[in-house]
Symmetry: C2
Amino acid sequence: MGNQSVTAPKGFLAAGLASGVKVSGKKDLGLLVCPAGATAAAMFTTNKITSAAVQVSREYVKSRKTYAVVVNSGNANACTGKKGLADARTMCDLAANRLGVEPVEVLVASTGIIGHKLPMDKVTAGIAQAAPLLSDSPEAGLAFAHAIMTTDTRCKQAYREVKLSRATVRIAGTVKGAGMIGPNMATTLLFITTDVAIGKPLLSKALAEAIGGSLNRLTVDGHQSTNDTAILLASGMAGNERITGLSANYRKFLAALTDLCTDLVHQMALDAEGATRMFQVIVKGAATKADATKAARAVADYPLFKCAVHGGDPNWGRIICAVGSSGVKLNSDKLSCKLDGLFVFRNGTPTDFNVKEASRIISQRQFVITVDLGVGRESDFYYGCDLSAEYVRINADYHT
Amino acid sequence: MGNQSVTAPKGFLAAGLASGVKVSGKKDLGLLVCPAGATAAAMFTTNKITSAAVQVSREYVKSRKTYAVVVNSGNANACTGKKGLADARTMCDLAANRLGVEPVEVLVASTGIIGHKLPMDKVTAGIAQAAPLLSDSPEAGLAFAHAIMTTDTRCKQAYREVKLSRATVRIAGTVKGAGMIGPNMATTLLFITTDVAIGKPLLSKALAEAIGGSLNRLTVDGHQSTNDTAILLASGMAGNERITGLSANYRKFLAALTDLCTDLVHQMALDAEGATRMFQVIVKGAATKADATKAARAVADYPLFKCAVHGGDPNWGRIICAVGSSGVKLNSDKLSCKLDGLFVFRNGTPTDFNVKEASRIISQRQFVITVDLGVGRESDFYYGCDLSAEYVRINADYHT
């Protein structure tokens, strides 16, 4: 398969190691570097409380060139006041110093527990140790991918290639889950590298569109964290004719980027805290797109339905309850619901469906729910996952 | 203590029995009767999908007098189409027939699984058997309270007396929980009897006010069911001077009614599905009342925080995260958070609080969280409870 990590696109180096921020001794510090300087785009949480790293990266991403991203896991450096903000800037300073660039040319991201001061002695030593390990090997990319994990049980990577005229463009991404995943955010921590040559405004537009149709459509527990950050770095080394407008090549690049993000969102959902299966809720027949989105999200976020999914139990009444509770316009005489291809509720009345078949569908690792509101032509979707006792165990014991 | 059930106020009879709708053989059918005719007020779910009983009772509560309420548990008779609507009307017809009144003078309520046809043979036989059992004894009131339960582990009753001039007015209520409890609804099934003499519009006003400040402030899983119904029946037999305006006696009655509802809301929260403790989230310093409500609800609904509460873990960062995620106006340099009297976060910075003391507070059966948004003078509150592995077990296995 070759290299499928963030070092696969031309022009990127990575490193990841255990600095000691995580008491478990697992990897918790990562560096991602583009020695020639990358064009950068980023999206951040819309939570009104943001981590120090988000505040700093929001400012630094405006630079014309970005040479590196420094990341730590195990500590969110959020709700840590002025000291936390100074620490995040110091992380950029330290990485910039090692690489001989300006601090504003380095981005920073953090993930982990909120409200604890970052152990800067460990972070400082970690950055110093990581710099000489930088490499374009698949192992280095994988080490970086491991360094961003928190409660993830699996490392998440995706890779795509796309031909733009005669040039092959590579795109690689890594993302961490696995809780505090709500929509309308830049989605947890996501790092994407590509060697496409593209202008900065178009790169930002592509990132926003790709995430809007993929990672922003996943809800695990309905809340966005204080730290959500998505960063896309483009080295421009693929040899393609630089994309400067909404051309066919832009659309091809966007399609590949969206496909990569959709791959990552499936990996995230199936590795969400305690999750054993995922589902897509498609709402159609809505009066407005906003109604379709709202109703789909209401189902995906509904704890009672998520529990039923965990139990492999086709309790479709909870789907209808969630849709009705969301307050969207609907026609109760035309309202219908399907599990995969099986109608369980049609025109406001339960069907005589085969319960065994419904149970089989809802017990799959992935399935689709389709709800028709019966009032219009708009549609939208959301991804969700089951709610398990394991989710509770993970989150009841996280702090101590 | 004497009679503290719904038969305690003058003029009420009750009965409850097992009709066989519940396969467990537990009580599932109740009758509540005011032979002299009661003034009735009711509130219903704002879910756009409503049970057949809600549709019928919404219409029938407009009658000048109400003689009875017939209730079944174990089957919600929701999403059951035209047949379900006919079945709900039949329940009123049967009870009216037994009592020699008009069907429109009987209210109906159902609770249980959605989307299954009501076994009308059992319901019909149950109503016939219940009528001769009607009694004003505490046992009869208790039997009625048991007949409305679903996943409740305890029967919930509350009783208050209030002196209006020289007359003693009695108020008694029973409520069922324990999941699908979201705000902005009339709150699951709630039946209150009183012997106060009062006009119908004022009785409706009192019910709305009492519930608005108590049961509508509880969220267990953020969704309102299709069946939520609160019914308040007033026999007028207490001998008080009939309340016809917003007098001192109205306010005293309202205070007692609100106090009774607050008692019931605590019983509900502590018996919510799988819950082991409850908390109140007070948000102050908000720019608007709506912001205060929204932020308080965001914390009370946040699965990650509810899990932390279950673990007795003072993970206050999740409180701040939920507040920030709710989108309300706040000043991050003035934002503060207390657990009972203990500041854990003050003016945007963590305090050096005693972790053991914080753990002790959050491990109590009841505690208070206070969040100051630091931007205004408005405040509001919500009640919530912890999220346990038991909640998942109950709801993963409910259907089959």
